[in-house]
Structures are given as structure tokens and as C-alpha cells.
């Protein structure tokens, strides 16, 4: 019944026994202890379980773990450097008061990692669209947008790409 999943999680090779019916969210939370991956609906509506698979943000609650075979997965636990310092994106969330209850936060940060990692500049409306797969009840998205916008702009100064 069990299968072995080989993949890279937060920059480390991982081998873990999984039930082929289980979601990546459950594998990450329950077998690997990566509890930043939150579950708010389990049907891909709220975005709280967002992680990056090969650099692309996905809802891990509707992504079977067996699909992650050989892939590279990143969660919020994998963002901080070895000194434990927060990334500029995480700092932007802290300083822009973009965090309230914090339950949607790890998922939105992972989408923002993808957005910021593109090296492109975005308008506020484009950012609204890019984070619209995440539901947040605390913030009205206002300070979240401020944080993502700040991280996008700061990153663009260093690795800016022109629109393709």
C-alpha cells in the first residue's frame, strides 16, 4: 500500500513513505512536520496550503504526493537562510503589518516568492490578480499588497527584468 516518494524538500533530498491517496499537503504536514502548510478548505479554494513545486505555486491540498516524485518543493520553512534571518519578502510582511492571524500568510508568501522571483515589475492591479487565489479575512489584502509590492520593487532593483 505504501509507496516511497523521492523528492527535494526545502533544499534537502527526502525519501518518505506515503499512501498513494494522500495529498502533498498531508505529506508535508504530517510526515515531514512542515506545518506552515495550512489547510483551510482542502479543495483548492482558499490557497492556504500553497507551496512551490519546481518553482510554481500550487494548492498542495489538491496535488497528490505521488505527482511530486522527483520534484523540488519549497515551503515557508525553507526560505530563511542558515543564520535564521528572514528574507526581504518575509521582512516586508513583518514591517508592512501584512500579518494578522497568520493562517493565510505562509501560502501567500509562497505565491509571492514566485511573483518576486520572476524579477519583473507589476502594477498594483496585476498583483491583485496574481494573489487573488488566496483568501484572507483579516487584512482586506491591503497591507499584503503593500508588502508584495515592496518586495517586488526592491528585488527589481537588483535583478530587474524587462517585460517579455
Amino acid at each position: 500500500m505504501m509507496e516511497i516518494l523521492h523528492c527535494t524538500v526545502n533544499n534537502k533530498p527526502v525519501e518518505v513513505g506515503i499512501d498513494p491517496r494522500e495529498s502533498l499537503a498531508d505529506t508535508l504536514r504530517q510526515r515531514l512536520g512542515l506545518t506552515s502548510v495550512k489547510k483551510g478548505c482542502e479543495v483548492g479554494e482558499c490557497g492556504a496550503c500553497t507551496v512551490l513545486v519546481d518553482g510554481v505555486a500550487i494548492d498542495s491540498c489538491i496535488y497528490l504526493s505521488v505527482w511530486a516524485q522527483g520534484k523540488t518543493i519549497l515551503t515557508v520553512e525553507g526560505l530563511q537562510n542558515e543564520n535564521g534571518e528572514l528574507t526581504p519578502l518575509q521582512k516586508a510582511f513583518v514591517e508592512e503589518a501584512a500579518v494578522q492571524c497568520g493562517f493565510c500568510t505562509p501560502g501567500i508568501i509562497m505565491s509571492a516568492v514566485e511573483i518576486v522571483g520572476s524579477g519583473k515589475l507589476y502594477t498594483r492591479d496585476e498583483l491583485r490578480k496574481l494573489i487573488s487565489g488566496h483568501l484572507c479575512r483579516c487584512t482586506g489584502y491591503e497591507n499584503i499588497l503593500n508588502a508584495v509590492e515592496r518586495a517586488v520593487n526592491e528585488t527589481h532593483k537588483f535583478v530587474g527584468k524587462e517585460e517579455e
Binding site: R21, R29, Q30, L34, T35, S36, K38, K39, G40, C41, E42, V43, E45, C46, A48, T75, V76, E77, L79, Q80, L86, Q90, F93, V94, E95, A97, A98, V99, Q100, C101, G102, F103, C104, T105, P106, I109, R124, R128, K129, I131, S132, G133, H134, L135, C136, R137, C138, T139, G140, Y141, E142, N143, I144, L145
Partner: protein, 769 residues
């Protein structure tokens, strides 16, 4: 000054790094999984149940049904317990119920070794029902011959209130005579609100086990001490036999100001030998089986003199309570009170309220506690009066708003400070009200714009309607920092951060030197009833100030022992200094000495309770600019500004963030959120986050939060309520903006496209070329 600083949240770094632990993150695994069987009828009885197939399924540990639970009815709302019987909450719920009162009633539970097995076992249970007609609306439940949903209330009316203020003009005997007096403008209106859900992103999960003969429950709640009490009541055991732990929680908004599945979870562990049982609640169950905001209808009448003075009003409110009493009549009572208070009538006021059981999922507390509903009614009414009788809508409000020194004739709550007029002025200027009203005056065409506004008042905490009490404890560390223990809860609003700031302010140390113990454990946390009623910065703030000052005195008196010659000791920049400003000893050295002194060792701590017997009003307003696509019935919010008088702000940046979230919730309430039911079966049709339209980032404009800082003399630091208020005035502001854009007054929520097309058609804007 530590109060008034916009420091980052004390929990932000943990929350952006995934280290912050929420209930399910702490659950040991493997764990036994519980799942609940929900009824497939909305009104009736469970006649019998066959659990043999479920019981026989490998991996099933136990199947328990409504025939097995203790014969105890218990109350569930997060109110302080009343020692007076007459004021106790309605005890109308059992752990599992034979009497089916809503579609999805909890009728059995399975405990199994894994979730899939538990789910399969549920599907194997056979249920035989006796079925009654479904009643989703109060009119059905109040009709002659309607089946009683609870036998204690044969007419399905949980409570009725009738309140008349004293008549201030002896030419009249009652309000009705004033309302009929032809010398006044006479106004009649009907407004109604819909049922909506909190939509905190974390569902209310819990897990429970037994140890040393006691029951231990970890749960996502706003009210750990109340959860402990209700588990004791529901199981019929001593409250000391229960420990409740509240970790970080993923939002609450009032839904978790209710004891939800914790008593069932606690009972289930006792039925499986104390093994740890997790009771996860799906999003669909959260919609169907936890609380929501009451739909309330309002019939209002007003008499206004030629100068726009509000002379008298009446208001009849009917609140749809669903299948269980939950907070009961308290919410509609708050609604009619709020309706009355914002614009005190010069001659008199008459209000009537009914709370009626129906077969809907039971509503309870939700951000604003009846005030979003009454505020929709009162602020639609003001706008409609202004339009009908030719008053300027802002001037009409300014003429009638609650004055400084106002004392409520029933509960005595007093207006100790008000910046409402300044809030209105600030919002008016910020949005460019006068220019926009002029600009949008005579529009034609299918797409039109408008601006609207609404005001609100909101009390701070629940005194004197209920007990207000809070306790705090401060404990010195060897390095001169302190631990702050509270029973008050962080639920996402930023409580821990502002509590730390308030403690620092009172003691005289930097906020960085206050380590707040975020999780509440009822075995060790001081008593506080928890997060609700926008009470904590006010009520808990008073406890923190009181204990902080006592703690400070203890530090200073220990310093006085060490420096008997020194005069006028004080604390400054982590040092004890004397009257001349001379640094005598660092707090770290003082603390270490106090711990380890061979002459006088003492662990410096302070602990105390503040029984709060004060209340005050917070105020504010919302201004909204909208664009209405008439043929599509689509409203786009272009700009939105909330202006608040919450007294002194403890942390302005967090206050603004709190306001943004309330505005967002208000946008959903105004335009898209609506729990929809099948009238035949009573089944909730859109109980998930796809079909229930909570606003996304695409549905918002940029949100602007402004403040008018009054210094409230009753607040511990000049502060008053802020948590719930931002959500209150948004829906009527949007409704009034749509009215100004189109001339069509929509009197029910939400302003969904379907309803707007109907209303615009009725109003002649669609279909008449």
C-alpha cells in the same frame, strides 16, 4: 512612550516563518480521528439508527449516537457565566441530538484509526427519521400550528422584548402619537439583512485526551476559560477536571466566541479510554454546523421636524435564530439598542424585538454583534429621510448624532468622548464628498458613479449587560525582562502586541522587554473571558495597567531596600534612577539580586484582577465611491475610506490593519455574501468557499483607514473599542452610494447583481428605452 508606537507585531516573525503553531500543528500523530454524522432532513426526529455495519468496519474504534449521549442540555455562547439563574444562557443543546433541528444536525459520531475509515463508517450508518415541514423563516415558525423546534418554546419565539424610553414631551403619551403627528415629516421603512459567515481561514479544529483522570483539550477558540466551563457543564463534571489550551488561531470573528465541538470532542475521548481524539471540522461543516450572522428584518418609523431633528422613532426587529439559541436574544437586543443610540430621539423611542427559532443553521456572534444589521437599517433610514424630505444627508446626521455626555436610559452607558463629527468631516474632505456629489448629480447612461456614507457608534465591552473582568500576571526574569500572562486571547487582531505595549508602558520598560505568553492554558492562565465585544484593549488593558503599576512599585521598593538613602526612585531606560536622574542600578542587576540575594531573596511578581464597571462609545464612519454597471447589476467599489474614533491608538499601524480587514468584511456583506438555502429541504446550498462569495483581492479598491484620536477618560490609556467597528458602516455606505449613483434604494442585503437588476428594472432603469 510604549503606547502609541507602531511597532511590528510580536508574533509576526513566527507567522512569516511557519513557526507559529496552530491547533492542528500541535496534534500528536497517529491520532484517533472523529467524524460526525449529519442529518439529511432539517426538522424531525431520529427514530432509529443501525450502526452494526459501521461498527464492524475494520479500523473503527467506536460509533456513538444521539441515543448514547448524556441527557444534559448545555448553553454554548461565549458569555461570562451568570450566577443569577434568570440571566443564564439558554441551555438547549445536547452533544448529539435525536431531535433534528437543522439540515445537517449532529446525530452520531465515529471514532476510527484514520479519516478515511471514519468517513466510510459514517456512510454505513442507517437512519430512520420522522419528518416535519421545514421552516427557514420566522414567519413560518411563528405561524399558527407550527411545530415547536424546542419543546420549551411552543411558539418558537425564544424571546420578545418591548422597550419604551421615557417620553420627553408631555403633549404625547407615547411614541406612536408622535409618529402620527402631522406637524412632523413621517417616515416608514423596511430593511433586512442576510445570513453570512465569518470565514476565518482556519476551521475550528480540536483534539482531546485524558491524563491523570482529567480531560485535556487543545482547540481553536477565542474563549478558552469559557470553553472549560461549558465542557464541564455539558459533561456534568467539575470544571477543574478540564484543561483547555488555546494556541495561535487562524481567525475567529465571533464564531469561536462560541463553544462549538469541544464538548463533543471531550466526551469522545472519555468513550475511548482517554486516547487522543482529533475532531477536524471541514469547511463545509464550518458553514453548516458552526455559527453565522443573524438575518434580521427591521420595520422602522420616524418623525422628523422641519429642521431635521429626530423627534421619535420606533423599530421592530425580528431575528432569525436558526435551530439553537446560541447567544440568544442578546444579539437582537444589541441591534435595537444600537439603532436607538446613534441618533437619540428628542421625544421618545419604542423598540420591539423577537428572536425566533427556525430550521436554519444557528447564527451566533459575528463581528459587530447585531450592530452591522441595525446599522444597515438606521443608515439606510437616514439616507432615505434625507432624500425624501430634502435634507443634506451629512447635515441631517450631524444634527442628530449622539452628543458628548449622552447616557443610555436603560443601561447607563455614557458617551465619555466623541470624535464622530470630526470623523465625518475628515472623511468628507478625504474623499472629496462635496465635489463628487456635485459631479455625479445628473448622470445618464448605463454606467454611473456615486458616493455614499454611513456612521456608527459601538460600545466597548459588555458592561453592564454582563460581567466584565480580567486578570493579569507579571513575572520577573533574572535579566530584568518580564513575562506577561493573560487570559485574554490573541486571535489575529494583534492583542499580544498591544498588551505587551500596555504592560511596558505601565511598568516603565521597553516593549521589547515584555515577553507575552501567547497561548492560554486554563491550568495556568489568569482568568479572563476572552476575545469578544471589542473589549480586550479596554477591559484587559485596565487589568494590565493595574498589575503593571503594582509590579513597578515592587521593583521600586526592592530598589529602595538596596539604596535606602536614595530619593524619588523611578525607572528609566532599563535603570533605577533617583530624583536627580542618577542611574543607581540596572534592572537586570536588580532582578538578579532579587532572585539570588543572600539577605532578601524574592521572586518579584504581581497578579490581580480588574473588575471593570465602565463602558464607553467608539465611533466612526465609512465613505464609499462606487461605479454601477446598471444592465449587469454590478457594483465596483472605486474608493473606500473609514474614519474611526477609537480613542487613543495603542499601535496605529495595527489599528489601520484592523480597519482594513473590517472594511473588507463589510464589502462582502454589502455585495456578495449570502448563505443560500433550498426552501424544500432546508439544505445550505453554498456552504463552501467557491460558491459562497467572500471577496478576493480583485474585489477591493485600495482601502484607506483614518483616525480621529480622542482621549477617552474611562479607557486605561485613553483607548476604546476598535476590533469590530470597522466592519459596521461599510454595507450601508455602499448601499447609499448605489442610491446616489442610480436613484434606486435597495433595502435588503446583499446588493448582488441579480437583485440589482431586479431593482433597477423596477426603478425603470432597465427595460424602458
Amino acid at each position: 512612550m510604549e503606547v502609541g508606537r507602531s511597532i511590528p507585531r510580536v508574533d509576526a516573525a513566527d507567522k512569516v516563518s511557519g513557526r507559529a503553531k496552530y491547533t492542528d500543528d500541535l496534534c500528536p500523530r497517529p491520532v484517533l480521528e472523529a467524524k460526525i454524522l449529519h442529518s439529511t432532513i432539517a426538522n424531525g426526529w431520529v427514530k432509529s439508527m443501525d450502526i452494526s455495519a459501521a461498527q464492524a468496519l475494520p479500523g473503527v474504534v467506536k460509533v456513538l449516537t444521539c441515543f448514547d449521549v448524556p441527557d444534559i442540555q448545555y448553553p454554548t455562547p461565549g458569555h461570562p457565566w451568570s450566577v443569577e439563574k434568570g440571566h443564564q444562557d439558554v441551555a438547549d443543546r445536547k452533544l448529539l441530538s435525536r431531535r433534528v433541528r437543522i439540515y445537517g444536525e449532529d446525530i452520531a459520531a465515529v471514532v476510527a484509526e484514520d479519516e478515511i475509515t471514519a468517513q466510510r463508517a459514517l456512510e454505513l450508518i442507517k437512519v430512520e427519521y420522522e419528518e416535519y415541514p421545514v421552516m427557514l423563516e420566522p414567519e413560518q415558525a411563528m405561524a399558527e400550528g407550527a411545530v415547536a423546534i424546542h419543546e420549551e418554546k411552543p411558539d418558537n419565539v425564544l424571546a420578545k422584548m418591548d422597550l419604551r424610553t421615557p417620553i420627553a414631551d408631555d403633549r404625547y403619551e407615547n411614541v406612536e402619537q408622535v409618529l402620527d403627528d402631522p406637524q412632523f415629516y413621517q417616515f416608514r421603512g423596511h430593511y433586512a439583512t442576510q445570513q453570512v459567515q465569518h470565514c476565518h481561514i482556519e476551521n475550528p479544529v480540536s483534539f482531546a485526551w485524558m491524563e491523570a483522570g482529567r480531560i485535556h483539550v487543545v482547540t481553536s477558540t477565542q474563549i478558552p476559560h469559557i470553553v472549560r466551563r461549558v465542557i464541564g457543564q455539558a459533561l456534568g463534571i467539575g470544571w477543574g477536571n478540564i484543561q483547555v489550551i488555546k494556541p495561535y488561531i487562524g481567525g475567529g470573528f465571533g464564531n469561536k466566541q462560541e463553544v462549538l465541538y469541544e464538548p463533543l470532542n471531550a466526551w469522545l475521548t472519555t468513550q475511548v479510554g482517554g486516547r487522543c481524539v482529533r475532531l477536524d471540522v471541514s469547511r463545509e461543516e464550518t458553514f453548516q454546523n458552526t455559527r453565522s450572522r443573524h438575518p434580521i428584518s427591521f420595520d422602522v418609523a420616524a418623525a422628523v421636524d422641519k429642521d431635521g431633528n429626530m423627534m421619535a422613532r420606533s423599530c421592530t426587529a425580528i431575528s432569525n435564530q436558526g435551530g439553537y439559541a446560541s447567544h440568544g436574544n442578546a444579539i437582537v437586543a444589541n441591534a435595537i439598542t444600537g439603532f436607538r443610540q446613534l441618533y437619540p430621539d428628542r421625544i421618545g423611542h419604542h423598540s420591539t424585538a423577537y428572536t425566533v427559532y427556525t430550521n436554519r443553521p444557528a447564527p451566533g456572534a459575528m463581528r459587530g454583534y447585531g450592530i452591522p444589521q441595525c446599522n444597515f437599517a438606521v443608515e439606510c433610514m437616514m439616507e432615505d429621510i434625507a432624500l425624501k424630505f430634502g435634507f443634506d444627508p451629512i447635515e441631517l446626521r450631524l444634527k442628530n448624532i449622539m452628543p458628548l455626555g449622552y447616557v443610555d436610559p436603560f443601561n447607563g452607558i455614557t458617551c465619555h468622548s466623541t470624535g464622530l463629527a470630526e470623523c465625518i468631516q475628515k472623511g468628507r474632505e478625504a474623499i472629496g464628498w462635496d465635489e463628487l456629489r456635485e459631479k455625479y448629480k445628473d448622470q445618464t447612461g448605463p454606467v454611473r458613479r456615486g458616493v455614499g456614507m454611513a456612521c456608527f457608534s459601538y460600545k466597548t465591552g459588555v458592561y453592564p449587560i454582563s460581567l466584565e473582568t480580567s486578570s493579569a500576571r507579571m513575572v520577573l526574569n533574572q535579566d530584568g525582562t518580564i513575562q506577561l500572562h493573560l487570559g485574554a486571547t490573541e486571535i489575529g487582531q494583534g492583542g499580544d502586541t498591544v498588551f505587551s505595549q500596555m504592560a511596558a508602558e505601565a511598568v516603565g520598560i521597553p516593549t521589547e522587554d515584555v515577553h507575552i505568553v501567547s497561548f492560554q492554558d486554563t491550568d495556568t492562565a489568569p482568568f479572563d473571558t476572552g476575545a469578544y465585544a471589542s473589549r480586550q484593549t479596554y477591559v484587559t488593558g485596565k487589568a494590565i495597567k493595574k498589575v503593571g503599576l503594582e509590579f513597578r512599585e515592587k521593583l521600586l521598593s526592592y530598589a529602595a531596600e538596596l539604596f535606602p538613602e536614595a530619593k524619588d526612585l523611578t525607572i528609566s531606560e532599563r535603570f533605577i534612577t533617583d530624583g536627580a536622574g542618577e542611574k543607581l542600578i540596572s534592572l537586570e542587576e536588580l532582578a538578579t539580586t532579587a532572585f539570588y540575594s543572600l539577605e532578601h531573596s524574592v521572586h518579584i511578581t504581581a497578579e490581580g484582577t480588574n473588575h471593570c464597571k465602565e463602558n464607553t462609545f467608539a465611533f466612526g464612519c465609512c465613505f464609499a465611491e462606487v461605479e454601477v454597471d446598471i444592465p449587469l447589476g454590478k457594483v465596483k467599489v472605486l474608493r473606500m475610506i473609514n474614519v474611526h474614533d477609537s480613542g487613543k491608538l495603542i499601535n496605529p499601524a495595527l489599528a489601520a490593519a484592523q480597519v482594513h480587514g473590517g472594511m473588507s468584511m463589510g464589502i462582502g456583506y454589502a455585495l456578495s455574501e449570502d448563505m443560500k438555502f433550498d426552501p424544500k429541504t432546508g439544505r445550505l446550498l453554498n456552504g463552501n468557499l467557491l460558491d459562497y462569495k467572500m471577496p478576493t483581492s480583485m474585489d477591493h479598491p485600495d482601502l484607506t483607514a483614518l483616525f480621529v484620536e480622542t482621549d477617552d477618560p474611562s479607557g486605561p490609556f485613553g483607548n476604546k473599542a476598535l476590533g469590530e467597528p470597522p466592519a459596521i458602516p461599510v454595507a450601508p455606505a455602499i448601499r447609499n452610494a448605489v442610491l446616489s449613483a442610480t436613484g434606486v434604494a435597495v433595502n435588503t442585503l446583499p446588493l448582488s447583481p441579480q437583485k440589482l437588476v431586479e431593482e433597477f428594472t423596477k426603478g425603470g432603469l432597465i427595460g424602458h428605452v
